[in-house]
Symmetry: C2
Subunit: 416 residues, 2 copies
Amino acid sequence: MGRGSSVLTRENGPQPADFADVRATNLAVVLRHLRTHAPCSRADIAATTGLNKATVSSLVTDLIDRRLVREVGMTENRIGRPAVMLVLDGSPYAAVGLEINTDYLTAVALDLAGERLLSWRRAFTGTPGQPGQAIASLAALARRTVSKLERERRRVLGLTVAVPGLVDADGIVELAAGLGWQRVDVRKSLLAALGEPGYPLLVENDANLAVLAEQRLGDQSGTGDLVYVTGGASIGAGIISDFRLVRGARGFAGEFGHLPLDPAGPVCGCGRRGCLETYAGLGAVIRRALPDVGIETALSPSEFGPHVDEIQRLAKAGDPQVLEALSETGRHLGHGLAILANLVNPACVALGGYFTALAPWLIPSATEELASRSAAADSGGTRIVASALDSSAAAAGGATRVLDAIDSGSLPTPHR
Amino acid sequence: MGRGSSVLTRENGPQPADFADVRATNLAVVLRHLRTHAPCSRADIAATTGLNKATVSSLVTDLIDRRLVREVGMTENRIGRPAVMLVLDGSPYAAVGLEINTDYLTAVALDLAGERLLSWRRAFTGTPGQPGQAIASLAALARRTVSKLERERRRVLGLTVAVPGLVDADGIVELAAGLGWQRVDVRKSLLAALGEPGYPLLVENDANLAVLAEQRLGDQSGTGDLVYVTGGASIGAGIISDFRLVRGARGFAGEFGHLPLDPAGPVCGCGRRGCLETYAGLGAVIRRALPDVGIETALSPSEFGPHVDEIQRLAKAGDPQVLEALSETGRHLGHGLAILANLVNPACVALGGYFTALAPWLIPSATEELASRSAAADSGGTRIVASALDSSAAAAGGATRVLDAIDSGSLPTPHR
DNA sequence: ATCTTTAGTTGGGACGGTAAACGAACTAAG
DNA sequence: CTTAGTTCGTTTACCGTCCCAACTAAAGAT
């Protein structure tokens, strides 16, 4: 009745199915069930998924052979034969996500169970127009990460790079204003710098990856219609609709920061007037909340952190000027979110970046503004919440994306 | 590398697959191939889809048994054994779409091959706050349509109703401003009025159905990222992203008409200021292009058609005031579309409703505005085009939706 | 000790896709 | 007319996967 009728069908071109597909699908079903419900027994899996007990046994054997699943002890003190409990096997694999941003590089690695293996962050300042240096730094970080994981005898399942900008389907960065990049083939350069590694390497917009992380690792796991808003000098949105990332024809969806709110508004860096960023970007908040901070020169990205901390401190202390500044910022943000919500009607908007730290003071006015501008009653069900993830969200999303591929049936080979 | 890895996998909950799914998938593959490539032979299908010849034979036999496919003659004058050509069998089935709008009711029926069996339109004026009457009229139209089709010995595969408003996943119309409806359970009422018919009955937003029609029947067939904009007194958008309709958590996505363009703009019917509708809605165009037409009273919906015709005539004649009015309207429309395009990055925006007739004069300025407001170069690849469909687009989309369900593998029973 | 309950395995059956061989039906050419 | 060559579609044997039912296994309950 509801969404898709056949499990196996896709809407686009002819894609015939055979038994291998059935097997892959069911392996993935078991894997996903185990990811969310571990530890549990074969019998549990059969009962919950509807698969036959015999089939589950066969699937689990296969997954154990591939070292994706491990048996771990038995249930006790219960009527009947004790059950062998199963969990995802964390140890033999790792998924890597990297993020490059204006002032830092991040690396995150997750094991198959989603446990964080490492979380590195280093300061970084790229020279606009010189993406080569930045990619070299990124490659160095990738090498260090991968070799650390390989020293732990883990196999790297894939690596995804988050870039704050427009990334097309082939991993070419069309435009990244904050980095000063234009038409940079990050995927190709990085593949070359890493010596054509065996694992898949992908490049994706940072907000798109962050929303994946929010869906998988954050509070909103299980929500099928979700938006994540990055908050920094620039603002971007990652949109998930019906469990799928909205990328658009070229992969440029989610350009949220330059949403025009007011044709008579202040001039934005992009040359137009009244963009959301000029009202709710980090610069605007700092100007509003901390007017003593110099406004004449553009703030350096590395200065942002302390200012946000200061704003948070003052807000906690109840400073009226700061509270009003945040309330006003929230209203503008809510204005922008209302536009987004009317167009894609998410169940939830998660505020990331600097918004997360200031969320308690932004959300009330943003929610109010959203409600007043929503076509549907009750804001169409859209709630605004603070992201549960920290600034490594995009990198974590990159690793998550690798795990998603595994969960969708493209399993690693049975292990040599 | 690109989109999904496994054919059978969906991202959400555990959905095990078995043989029936394989069969359904492959039946659907053949059906879809035939829809786009008919007439063609079994051998063609096998070669193009990658399915085995024997499998195709078996699948085709099955489809012929279900009377979905028909053999039609042979190839001649060719080396080798002549091929038996196959086409979708139009005759035994029909899919029905209805539309209710402020001033008309529409019924469209398509056969399996997508050929139009009937296209009815009748004037209609509902009393706001009295949805019961309107539903009775709709039910009468549905009955007439269905009985005509059954007299032709066709089986109705399904019926979908398009409503210009917010429709949730259960077919409840949350709000339809133009009709004066609020929380009307159209699906339930109509099911009751039709005596619980055997075919599936669904209710959906008009723009959502129109975009399906545009993708399937219009010029944009095959495009996976597409937007359709309805243009009448109110404006709505139907969004398809990666071949799937973007509905949102409650089904309220695509609320486009009340996009705020300017907080200092004119007051809109919704109570806010500067909504897109006040700039690009039909009323605004008429006021701009035909200032002699009374503006003091709200225009009745039934008056719209002649005015649009008049504007079109004057535009063709080169009337400078009308050309300027359309150019300005196009600019505002482009402004709104830029917001939409930055968020979902469609390959194409199709202009429907009254926009279609006036498209030649709207598109140039709209395209220019879109380009100047796009974050990506080249407008992110988004083109603005006139819809190839007429005012029955939403109803046709309703019928298309029924066919989509068939094409996705939920085939009718083998025929008694 | 026996019964009950639950877990997981085994063997048989059905189903559907694959591959290769085959007959059918045509054209081309001697 | 005969023979070769081509292509279509079916037939046959095979294999992999799932399902079902019966079975074994291992515990607590009586």
